[in-house]
Symmetry: C2
Subunit: 334 residues, 2 copies
Amino acid sequence: MTLINHKFLLAARPMGMLKRTDWTFTQEPVAEPNEGELLVQLLYISLDPAMRMWLNDVRSYTPPVGIGELMRALGVGVVKASLNPRFEIGDHVSGLFGVQEYALTDGRGVTKVDTRAVPLPKYLSALGMPGMTAYFGLLDTAQPNPAETVVVSAAAGAVGALVGQIAKITNCRAVGIAGGAEKCRYIVHELGFDAAIDYKSEDVKQSLQKHCPRGIDVYFDNVGGTILEAALSNLARGARIVICGAISQYNNSGPMAGPRNYMSLLSNRATMKGMLVFDYVDRYPQARAEMAGWMAEGKLKSREDIVDGLETFPETLLKLFKGENLGKLMLKVG
Amino acid sequence: MTLINHKFLLAARPMGMLKRTDWTFTQEPVAEPNEGELLVQLLYISLDPAMRMWLNDVRSYTPPVGIGELMRALGVGVVKASLNPRFEIGDHVSGLFGVQEYALTDGRGVTKVDTRAVPLPKYLSALGMPGMTAYFGLLDTAQPNPAETVVVSAAAGAVGALVGQIAKITNCRAVGIAGGAEKCRYIVHELGFDAAIDYKSEDVKQSLQKHCPRGIDVYFDNVGGTILEAALSNLARGARIVICGAISQYNNSGPMAGPRNYMSLLSNRATMKGMLVFDYVDRYPQARAEMAGWMAEGKLKSREDIVDGLETFPETLLKLFKGENLGKLMLKVG
């Protein structure tokens, strides 16, 4: 029996908001593993804001996806065949497998995951890249002290929801900025944030002033644009801004908006620092263990927004940029 | 004999580039010191880019100068009368005396300076606020390591010229960005910078790439705008940007330009940090001693651009924003 692999290739360098014609949906027979390789059947594919950045032809931390190439994506799946001694048929694994049904890989960057205690999709959310990003971005890059005020944008998103909860675990005040009443209710009542600001109905700058009367000590930025500016306008002295993402700007057809009030860094002796989760790969196991412990204690929750069907990839990805997902967005495959 | 004090008051909240009608030039009899006070005759008044920021009605590290108030300025002078036990007639002093001929003060923030080894104007340049800014901004905020590449903008200015020289003393490579061939020649041939980029005749982004083939490790920014963006485009991994000033933006009538490519902080795991020299007051004596030592050894030079006449203040201040000064700009009074 020949297996068929369906996959999405990048068809064109996109301008502005993504559209279906930016992609080619194609198929091919699945090849057999050679010596050292394994074949993974994808079960869940992670959809992340950073994907939009990987499509731009600019120098960044990773080369852009080339025209005609498989779209890059993290995923989790099950090993269907293996000529690699590290992996056996039936193992669950995570890796950068791409937007497709089957991935043939030499095993580099592939990690075995344990699904006995934790369901597989969590390895794309709290125990995956978003979890590691929240953990190291907050605890290592920002280094919050107890009783400090931590503000996070895209607070109902995969990373933001975890940042706020880890801030609470660290005995900080957590204030989240999110779009819409449902997300705001979720982060306060289900996740335990101290306050939520609905950027769709509130003046974020004024609301930050209200909820952070002594100023913002840590601002974890996932969105950029005017919300970053609102945070810069409300910094406490010695504040740390973690630059993790800028989702509001990724689909601009022109350049991003730069923070016009960045001189607030000077008047507040503040720091703005970029972080990339991949720098912490060596420390993932320790962080995953701590996060899993918090999850088992009920201190850390994550929600996954799972959409069925590989073929929906182009439209499902747009949910991120429209703010339509609640929790970690991913595709269920097969 | 009654002494007359001439002084500049802020007449109006300026919009865009400063003009003479933003100021009131006025005079009054000089009062006698009361108990605890001293009377200082100003000899040199410091003209600094930050003065433009002090005129805007925005929250910053210091309140704006009020309409009708004496224009704030650093200065050095000589004590003419004293009922303060810390000071005697004939002492040379520095302090925030304002743009005027005579200052009556209770002595708070006033420092005695020693003019036997170092001429008085140096206490407004290398041994004054610009010197302390360069010293702590580079050594404390950026913490350059030997062999790293340090880039500084406004490199022929009061702060920038010192930053490059201290970078060389620290065994770094120093690359300066300045306006015009004369300034570029000065920083390379007289101050010992490794390279200079003339932003008036070169593409700064391309020239930075040429002169910093391994990227910029430390960027000390005095100017903001497109030069800050050019630096962000050429960062080395782990780069530190010191936000010290943004002179290219101070006379905008609208908001400043924010750095549109600030996400380079993320791809390069870089840091942008604001610094304010006043935070280091306790450490000035140690820094002054070290700087004076370097000056005595001939390793650190400073040039002063001294303009005669208090009454020229409005026009002389504009030299800063037109890039017409070479070295520390100050007024000679009396």
